[in-house]
């Protein structure tokens, strides 16, 4: 199979911006709202999610010629659930604080639409390498998206960044950004999660509208210029014939 240059790079990058699973496709919203109280929890969730996504994409892609069409979805769900169980046990053993913080949301990676969606839409049709790159891009895109939400929620809600509570292997430190007493604790509450998500989506929609407007304006200008040119050409040719 011949492919264009830079295909792998684009395949990787599309998950981060153009097809970001959270902000563009609006998939996997439950953990994005539930595990973004602190940046640390969001990073943990992103890493676990990416591991499950990459492993299940590789396995689904390897088995894509063996699994028949009729039992596709149940087979994928079992594959994903198996990897989630493995990840859950590892987290419980090596990062018990992360396990406690994320709680049931580690198990809920099974029903995260992104994992099943990538398995159905991409890994079941493409080679192992392409699926791996696609999964890495999507995983990173999702991780960055939930970290973005967590940054706003943690700074506005607690006024400070704190690290070392969940990943206990790094020393605990706290970075005060908003002076004490001026934080808005609403952003640590569920309502704050919805507001942050809404505002981020609105900003994205605003930028998209802006781009579309600029493009249509440019097209309009181009049209007018062409008309004028045609007019001038007609006039000049008319002048010559006189």
């Amino acid at each position: 199979m011949k492919r264009e240059k830079g295909f792998t790079k684009r395949n990787f990058l599309k998950g981060i911006l153009a097809e970001n699973p959270l902000f563009v496709s609006i998939l996997g919203t439950c953990p994005a709202l539930a595990t973004t109280k602190t940046v640390e929890a969001a990073i943990g969730m992103g890493i676990l999610f990416t591991i499950v996504l990459v492993c299940s994409s590789i396995l689904v892609s390897l088995l894509r010629k063996i699994i028949s069409e009729e039992i596709r979805t149940p087979a994928y769900i079992v594959i994903i659930a198996t990897f989630v169980t493995i990840v859950k046990m590892f987290t419980n053993a090596f990062l018990p604080e992360l396990y406690l913080t994320l709680g049931v949301f580690i198990s809920l990676i099974v029903v995260n639409c992104i994992v099943l969606g990538r398995a159905e839409a991409y890994a079941s049709k493409n080679t192992v390498f392409d699926s791996l790159i696609d999964a890495l891009g999507m995983g990173l895109g999702y991780t960055l998206a939930i970290i973005t939400m967590a940054v706003f929620r943690e700074i506005l809600g607690t006024g400070a960044f704190s690290f070392g509570k969940i990943f206990t292997f790094i020393p605990y430190f706290k970075l005060q950004i908003i002076p004490k007493g001026y934080e808005i604790s609403l952003f640590q509450n569920p309502a704050g999660a919805f507001i942050v998500f809404a505002l981020i989506l609105a900003v994205i929609a605003f930028i998209k509208n802006r781009k579309a407007e600029l493009k249509s304006n440019l097209e309009k200008q181009e049209k007018i210029r062409k008309q004028q040119e045609a007019k001038m050409a007609a006039e000049s040719s008319g002048g010559e014939s006189k």
Partner: protein, 199 residues
Amino acid sequence: MMKILVTFVLAIISSMLIDNVVLSRFYGICPFLGVSKKVKSSLGMGLAVVFVIMLATLICWPLYQLLQLAGIAFMDTVAYILVIASLVQLVGLFIKKYSPTLYKNLGIYLPLITTNCAVLGVVQSNTDQALTFLDSIANALGTSIGFLIVIVLFSCIRVRLESANTPKAFKGLPIALIVAAIMALAFMGLQGLFSGINL
């Protein structure tokens, strides 16, 4: 006996209103945002979810005891998702055969329920918190009815949003999420509901 009954009812109300699935525990956001544009379809989705959550809880609690007996309790997530997926299929077939009208109304939402994290979320958190059978049922009932109430309320507001004059960037999902935020604030006001009751 009386005390058990009171605890049961309080547990239902608490998981229905105070710890609402969608607005404070964040389960089932996808159908909450996806299937709430019309009141009728949101009602259908809500009812189907109540049905599946109740059945899944009734099956999964004994199943976990069996898994524990067999010494493979760590396989719980895999077992649950299989139960839920096949349950959804079975319920679909059953309704199709015996009540075609109901199937027509619920049918399209049934496959979506497999990936509704409210179902797996309830079953899994029942296991993680080691709830008794009665408490599990109370949790399932409260959670699923809470989902039904919230999705129907939300869709009623969303229908009106369609004709509202919202800023261009907020059209569609962003303004709906703001509405959800305000609903979450309103539900937060219920938090002190049981503070006066001693059991």
